[in-house]
């Protein structure tokens, strides 16, 4: 199929954001009916490129040919008119509106709601993506939301469908269904531009691949003819970082224990935690896998103490029942925490790094605050030490947190906590959106901390990362946690099944949202 007629050709696309060149003279060509992978690490410039193709970003330079004609895609509406549809990684859905209203917004002109509902039911049925047009999006689970996005594109009978990291929010089973739909579309002649950094699925369904690194195209290939290792080499360049897991000593005593932890969660869309049991031992890294939005954030919040639980005894930290204790009490006991969101949660964006040291250490470090007064000198000294030790690169001395790149900021935030030599470290998505070099450094640091006798709890959506750092793995699904098991006894398939909810004690809610 890869040898069909040319559908779209992008030549010399460039785009600059402030100081960074997100796209640097990028060429891309797709034929009718092919599934074309756009591969690259986080920050390689894939999303920027497709947003330009879809008219959501204005290119800084370059040209676009559609079906042989030079075109200028002024905005997404123009792209849709040409026959380009896009499913965004972070959905472009309106939570307060119904499914039908969401779809109506993507259509070029007003269609009577009744007729639209009928169309939705027909098209969604045809491709095996059933939808209820009257449901409100806020009430729907992630998998269904992606369906809305896809059906929204399909209703316009596109010639090109762009999918930005579509499986990052799906369980393996849901991904399987998606692959079937995509193959079927391609067979009908629709081209699909498939953005991913997951090599395995690219090799399975894509006919061709274009690989990007640092905003440039660095290669093109037939993924089926490559090995995962050769693709990875192309993606990250020469520097593939290996992490040294070292030998795990005999696990020591339990430093963090969760006992029948229940928590209702705040707000309408929060996930409730249900009878979670967990025992984290000295010297080990325990990783919690799971699809985004299954209660990871809520679990982090109750363990850290940002949110207190009802009973003191359901969380035991270093021998102390801390369910009702504050986050700073837990830090004083020897715990450290790194949240998922770097800017605005782990760090205050507009404050300099030295003040961001004070942010999490004002209660536990005696030299930072004396008698209620800040010691800026001590904070600055800590900041310098961290920057040197954890290779935090910055344009000038002590910049504001938001001026750092994702990887450097994460190194700073992780370093800030490691610097305290914590006995228990809880870290949520340690390397999300971080470049390969920084990721390797952080993962190595986590392992080293555990080997030195501390207990490390890693919450991650990235299975590769989990296999790299973990001694034990547990899976969270809809607020329930599976029994942790040694890494070697769990293969990806088992984890996939647990992610899909097979480990849940209560299956009653499985039908919700359909």
């Amino acid at each position: 199929m890869a040898s069909g007629t040319e559908l779209i050709r992008a030549k010399g696309i460039s785009k600059r954001f402030g100081e960074t060149l997100a796209n640097d003279n990028v060429d891309l060509c797709l034929n009718k009916g092919e599934i074309h992978a756009l591969l690259g690490e986080n920050g390689a410039g894939k999303s920027t490129l497709v947003k330009i193709l879809y008219g959501a970003l204005e290119p800084g330079g370059g040209s676009l040919h559609w079906k042989g004609n030079l075109v200028k895609v002024a905005n997404p509406a123009a792209a849709r008119k040409l026959g380009i549809g896009m499913v965004f990684q972070h959905f472009s859905l309106f939570e307060a509106l119904s499914v039908a209203e969401n779809i109506a917004l993507a259509l070029p002109k007003s269609v009577p709601l009744k007729q639209l509902c009928a169309d939705i039911i027909e098209v969604s049925g045809k491709y095996g993506l059933p939808l209820d047009p009257t449901a409100i999006v806020a009430d729907l689970p992630v998998g269904i939301r992606q369906r809305i996005e896809i059906v929204r594109c399909l209703l316009q009978e596109p010639d090109l469908l762009i999918m930005d990291e579509p499986t990052s929010v799906l369980t393996p089973l849901e991904a399987e269904d998606l692959f079937k739909t995509l193959t079927r579309l391609a067979d009908e002649g629709c081209a699909i531009l498939y953005i991913s950094h997951r090599l395995e699925e690219v090799q399975r369904i894509c006919h061709r691949a274009t690989i990007m690194r640092h905003g440039k195209v660095v290669g093109a290939c037939d993924p089926a003819k490559e090995t995962a290792a050769s693709l990875a080499q192309l993606m990250v360049g020469g520097d593939v970082h290996a992490v040294d897991a070292g030998a795990q000593a005999m696990p020591g005593k339990a430093l963090l224990q969760l006992t029948d932890l229940n928590h209702a969660g705040e707000g309408a869309f929060a996930v409730a935690l249900e009878s979670i049991n967990l025992s984290l031992h000295a010297g080990e890294v325990l990783a919690i896998a799971g699809i985004a939005g299954n209660g990871q954030g809520e679990l982090f919040d109750v363990i850290s103490g940002e949110v207190k639980t009802k009973a003191a005894y359901d969380i035991n930290l270093l021998g102390v029942p801390v369910g009702r204790r504050s986050i700073n009490d837990r830090r004083r006991l020897g715990a450290a925490f790194v949240p998922e969101e770097r800017l605005g949660h782990g760090a205050a964006p507009d404050l300099p790094l030295s003040e961001n040291v004070i942010l999490t250490r004002h209660a536990s470090d005696k030299d930072l605050v004396r008698a209620g007064l800040l010691s800026r000198g001590a904070a600055l000294r800590s900041e310098r030490r961290l920057a040197a030790q954890y290779d935090v690169r910055m344009a000038h001395e002590n910049p504001e947190a938001r001026a750092l790149s994702g990887g450097n900021l994460q190194k700073f935030i992780v370093g800030r906590e490691l610097d305290r030599s914590p006995r228990v470290l809880v870290i949520n998505q340690p390397t999300w959106g971080v470049d390969a070099g920084a990721a390797a450094l952080i993962r190595q640091a986590l392992i080293d901390l555990a080997r030195s006798g501390a207990a490390v709890l890693v919450i991650s959506q990235d299975l590769d990362e989990i296999y790299e750092v973990a001694d034990k793995i547990a899976v969270i699904s809809r607020g329930q946690l599976s029994e942790p098991a040694p890494k070697d006894s769990m293969n990806r398939e088992q984890i996939g099944l647990l992610m899909a909810g097979l480990g849940e004690a209560k299956q009653a809610k499985a039908g919700k949202g359909h």
Binding site: F94, A96, E101, A268
Partner: protein, 306 residues
């Protein structure tokens, strides 16, 4: 029966400015913009309407001038909050302070001058009906307009594509932008609609409520209108109910005095403000209700990343 009719008439007079201002702010907030400058736009509308009607003798021209003046102020607000992404709360406050100042300066020469009263339009036959005739069908054009605007707003918001786009922009501006809608254009229009309605409310104050100019005559009505939008949980129908409830409360003092109740008049005068607080507490206590109904992007700045 004879006591009821003037009471209903005064309720309508007290409610109409609240209704007009609140429905405009509702549309504005539905698009995701919190404009705290209602009070300022209203009072500038009032002085422009009074001045124009006073000099030309035409209350209709006055209404138009009131609207235009308030729209001009709303554009200023729009430029700062939408284009320059200034803090909406602070800019709204600035708009109110500026509006109060401007109106005081413009209106200084009008103080004490007799105004031009907006005439009533009696609908033939219907206005002669007993009891409700004069109340329902003997009103001035702005009262009729207020009802028409509420009906139209409700229809456009929930039945038309325009309304769908407006609600979408208020719910998630990033998505709306990704789909190719011009978030800023939608918001500019919504802010201007809010301005126009505040201008009408102001015109009503200086041409119908008390056809004269006194400094600060809006007396916090713009702020009460803001509270009404929260009270109505962003639904036009409930704004109507809310405005009339508040209108009724605010005229209580006159009728209380007439019926011989001897509470201090200051207590009666502060009643609308106290009631506003009580109502806000009751509404906001139900977090679920306010959370699910309030536009998700309310008050957040949007910068198109191009």
């Amino acid at each position: 029966m004879s006591a009821l009719e003037p009471m209903l008439l005064t309720i309508i007079t007290a409610s109409t400015p609240l209704l007009l201002a609140a429905i405009g702010e509702l549309v504005c907030e539905r698009s995701g913009v919190l404009n705290l400058g209602v009070e300022g736009m209203m009072i500038v509308g009032a002085v422009a309407a009074f001045g124009t009607a006073y000099t030309t003798g035409s209350p209709l021209l006055g209404i138009v001038a009131g609207m235009l003046a308030a729209v001009a102020l709303s554009l200023l607000f729009g430029f700062l909050t939408l284009r320059l992404m200034c803090n909406q709360v602070a800019t709204g406050l600035a708009l109110t302070i500026l509006g109060l100042g401007l109106s005081g300066m413009i209106g200084e020469s009008f103080v004490g001058e007799p105004g031009v009263k907006l005439s009533q339009i009696s609908i033939p036959m219907l206005s002669d009906l007993p009891l409700v005739g004069k109340v329902l069908f003997g009103q001035d054009v702005l009262v009729y307009a207020s009802f028409a605007i509420v009906g139209l707003t409700s229809y456009v918001l929930f039945r038309s594509r325009w309304g769908l786009i407006l609600r979408a922009v208020g719910d998630n501006h990033t998505s709306a932008h990704a789909l190719g809608y011009s978030v800023l254009r939608v918001r500019y229009l919504a802010v201007m609609f809010g301005g126009a309605c505040s201008g009408l409310a102001g015109a009503y104050l200086s041409l119908a409520y008390t056809p004269q100019w006194t400094e600060g005559m809006s007396a916090g009505r713009g702020w009460i209108a803001l509270a009404l939008v929260v009270f109505a949980s962003w639904r036009p129908g409930r704004v109507l109910i809310g405005a009339y409830l508040f209108g009724a409360v605010s005229i209580l003092q006159f009728h209380a005095q007439a019926s011989g109740v001897t509470l201090p008049s200051q207590l009666m005068s502060s009643l609308p403000y106290l009631v506003t607080i009580v109502v806000l507490v009751i509404i906001s206590q139900n977090r679920q209700l306010t959370k699910t109904n309030s536009p998700a992007c309310l008050g957040k700045p949007f910068s198109p990343d191009r």
